[in-house]
């Protein structure tokens, strides 16, 4: 492995300076559960690793009037051990509590999961159905993009050289909103999704007033299944309506066959998981 230096900036501005100086020979370190493995595996060669965990806004969880702002390097356990976050963002918690094992959850962050841009990432679909925004810092200041625009290819994110993810902004929802995330793996824990789905719904007067469905491991990036989501707007959450949207999600899925599963298996899984997560989200609103 190529030796690198360690930088631990205390402010966003300092981090931008270091990242600018080293360009593509620097990467941010949050939990290290992807970046250290990839560096060691010589996927890239670094001169600098920039530990962003000492920048206060990177590890804080802040509630504003209309958002929950999760620092990009906040470890998963901080989220699922926070009862307020658990209550307001059930789909996010489904994801945060099944990424890796306990050791991984002590370090891994949703921000890191997002930047790593794996098609099978467990955290990204939940962020998509919660309409999350990415707060990105760079040499030109701060910009925000919707989370579904963050992943642009396997392992590729939408950030330019010198930019890094500061936080994830989740809009606060009312009590008629809920969400759910489920993946299929052949084991109980510690595996990569063969296929996975996150769904969110808002219910008003017995009808679905908003819906978002996102699919993982069935395309080069996590997919926002917008067409399937729209089908449910204004409809009652009946078995038949949910089934129709799930079939649409299955159509949208465009997986490959590999060691984890075949195209047919993955498409079938998307139909089943969409049905389950939609039903679960509806059930969570009702209780």
């Amino acid at each position: 492995m190529h030796p690198f230096n360690y930088y631990d900036p205390r402010t966003v501005e300092e981090a931008v300076e270091v990242l600018k100086k080293f360009g593509d020979r620097a990467k941010c370190l949050a939990g290290g559960t992807d970046v250290l493995v990839q560096t060691r595996g010589e996927r890239y060669e670094l001169d600098a690793i920039v530990d962003v965990k000492k920048i206060p806004e990177l590890t804080s969880v802040d509630w504003t009037n209309d958002h929950l702002i999760i620092g990009a390097a906040t470890p998963c356990y901080v989220l699922y051990e926070d009862p307020k976050v658990c209550e307001a963002f059930p789909g996010i918690i489904d994801s945060a509590s099944l990424i890796g094992g306990i050791q991984i959850q002590s370090r891994a962050s949703l921000g890191g999961n997002l930047c790593n841009a794996s098609p099978s990432a467990d955290g990204i679909c939940s962020l998509i159905v919660h309409e999350a925004e990415c707060v990105i810092a760079g040499p030109n200041g701060i910009r925000e993009i919707p989370v579904e625009e963050m992943c642009v290819g396997p392992g590729k994110n939408a950030m330019d050289e010198g930019e890094f993810l500061v936080s994830i902004k989740l809009p606060l929802k009312n009590s008629f909103f809920s969400s759910s995330y489920e993946r299929f793996i052949p084991r109980n824990e510690m595996d990569i999704a063969v296929a996975a789905v996150a769904s969110s719904v808002s219910l008003e007067n017995g009808k679905i007033s908003s819906c978002r469905i996102a699919l993982a491991a069935v395309g080069p990036t996590p997919i926002f299944a917008e067409e399937a989501s729209k089908m449910l707007i204004g409809k009652e959450p009946t078995e038949e309506n949910i089934k129709n949207a799930s079939n649409k999600a299955k159509e949208i899925a465009s997986p490959i066959s590999d060691m984890r599963g075949t195209v047919e298996h993955r498409k079938d899984l998307i139909e089943v998981l969409t049905r389950r997560t939609l039903s679960k989200a509806v059930e969570r609103v009702s209780v």
């Binding site: 492995m1 030796p3 690198f4 230096n5 360690y6 100086k21 080293f22 360009g23 020979r25 370190l29 939990g31 290290g32 559960t33 250290l36 493995v37 060691r40 595996g41 001169d47 600098a48 690793i49 530990d51 356990y77 890796g100 094992g101 306990i102 050791q103 991984i104 002590s106 370090r107 109980n188 824990e189 510690m190």
Partner: protein
């Protein structure tokens, strides 16, 4: 630009209650730091990529895979390794239970299992079998089939 001028970093950390100053290469894992710099070889290297949990240690009350932490990140931290479990008076109850239940064969995964299980019992003295199995999912054992390990943890919690 390429910067090959890699400088060692001085860190201050506490391992099993003992404060120490050590000098580490900034690109070296905490696992390697413990084994090669500090000379504590109780923590084992298995996969070296965060899958097997053999290198599990406790940092500030949370278990982590030390292969996925840089040595420099130990600055100011409170670290517990398997070497900190037994006391001059005897083995830790978990270690004793692992012996009595024969919860190991080759032993490579054992320090990781012990450190993980200790973190569980420190916070939840009476976990269910399901809870134990879930908690230990990040620790792999290729010899025992897990039943004896789970029994040993259960025994230590009784």
């Amino acid at each position: 630009m390429s910067d090959n001028n890699v400088r060692k970093v001085a860190i201050n950390t506490t391992i099993n209650g003992q404060e120490m100053d050590i000098l580490v290469d900034p690109y070296v894992s905490l696992l390697e730091t413990l084994r090669e710099v500090v000379g504590m070889t109780g923590t084992k290297e298995g996969c070296n990529d965060g899958n097997c949990g053999a290198c599990t240690i406790n940092i500030d009350g949370r278990i982590v895979d030390s292969c996925l932490v840089l040595g420099v990140e130990a600055e100011g931290k409170n670290i517990e390794t398997v070497e900190g479990m037994a006391t001059p008076d005897g083995l830790h109850p978990l270690q004793q239970a692992f012996l009595e239940e024969a919860a190991l064969q080759c032993g490579i995964c054992t320090p990781g299992f012990l450190v993980s299980a200790k973190a569980l019992l420190d916070n939840e003295p009476k976990p269910s079998e399901e809870r134990i199995r879930h908690w230990l999912a990040g620790n792999l054992c290729r010899c025992t089939g897990y039943d004896k390990i789970v029994k040993a943890v259960k025994k230590a919690s009784d």
